[in-house]
């Protein structure tokens, strides 16, 4: 396998792992508080819907959209996603925003469902199915986006192969998250999510800058070898921003009010 494909595999794996951790937390809450039948039914339905969407988008992207235009659009979207993730990760590292507390979100979800009078049973529960479906579909769409965008960048000839490799990376991430989740049986609070989000933010921004620039017509110095230079640049900028913001941080922080007021939407919107 070429270096390009390995890079796509690693990037898709890391980016997808973040989304799967978030989706898995919600599915776990539904499974524990309502029942696993509803949680898994919602997740399975969402996976089916995603498969259809991915198949349709994949065909459209590969056959219809020209590679330069594709790079421009993908670069633009990746930069937007990457900068958004990077901003939150920097605020958390600087101490201006609480570290993403999966346990607090989990407890909040459990309390909400108990307050609604939800209880364990083996019947399919509409609220449980829909909650699981929504979270898996929305987080899964982000994974689909990652797979298609990362996979589409491996040259015109190997594009479909690239999507396959990116899908393999996402599949491995899903497998890892499910195995880890099954072993610890908790909302994956031990996964250093902010570190993962920071790395993914740097990668998405760097890849987005590189591909977006190519789409604009920029010929990067030494072509693909310029990518590590962009990564180093954004790392230095992010490091300096963390140092600058840290001096303004309060001594201690609880999870941000918005996360506890509306944990699901905060998860979905990243």
């Amino acid at each position: 396998m070429s270096a390009d494909l390995w890079a796509v595999l690693a990037a898709a794996f890391l980016a997808s792992a973040v989304e799967f951790v978030e989706a898995f937390t919600i599915v776990l809450v539904v499974g524990v508080t309502i029942n696993w039948r509803s949680a898994l039914a919602g997740a399975a339905a969402a996976s089916g819907a995603l498969a259809v969407i991915v198949a349709m988008l994949g065909v459209a992207l590969v056959r219809v959209i020209p590679i330069e235009g594709l790079r421009l659009i993908i670069g633009l979207l990746l930069v937007l996603f990457g900068l958004k993730w990077l901003k939150k990760a920097i605020l958390r590292y600087a101490g201006l925003k609480a570290l993403h507390d999966e346990e607090a979100i989990y407890e909040e979800q459990v309390a909400e469902m108990r307050a609604r009078g939800e209880h364990h049973s083996t019947r399919l529960d509409p609220f449980g199915v829909v909650t699981s479906f929504k979270s898996v579909l929305l987080e899964g769409l982000e994974v689909a986006f990652i797979v298609i965008t990362f996979g589409s960048q491996v040259g015109v000839v190997g594009r479909s192969g690239g999507i396959g490799v990116a899908a393999l990376g996402a599949g491995l991430a899903l497998l890892l998250v499910v195995i880890v989740g099954a072993v610890v049986r908790a909302p994956l609070q031990r996964v250093p999510e902010n570190t993962l989000k920071f790395i993914v933010g740097i990668m998405l921004t760097s890849f987005g800058t590189f591909w977006g620039g190519e789409g604009l017509g920029i010929a990067w110095w030494h072509e693909d070898l310029f990518l590590p230079v962009l990564v180093a640049f954004y790392l230095v900028v992010a490091g300096l921003l963390i140092l600058w913001l840290r001096s303004y941080a309060p001594l201690s922080l609880h999870p941000a009010a918005v996360e506890l007021d509306n944990p699901v939407s905060e998860e979905v919107l990243g």
Binding site: K87, G213, L216, Y248, G270
Partner: protein, 73 residues
Amino acid sequence: MSHMARALKATYDFFAGDAILLGATALAFALGTLLERVAHAPNPLIATCFVVLLAGGLVTTLGRELRGRSRHR
């Protein structure tokens, strides 16, 4: 809020969620296109402007975040 407004808000939140980042990114891509296609500027100049505008968007939005938090104390 109408269904259309809600859909637009959800789309904005999904893809951007931050007006400064969206503005800086749009400006970087628009200026890059102008420099490349219209002004035929040298490649290093386009690349530098492009990257600096993107990083500048991140710095600006974090600066605004800091000012907002200072005001609330």
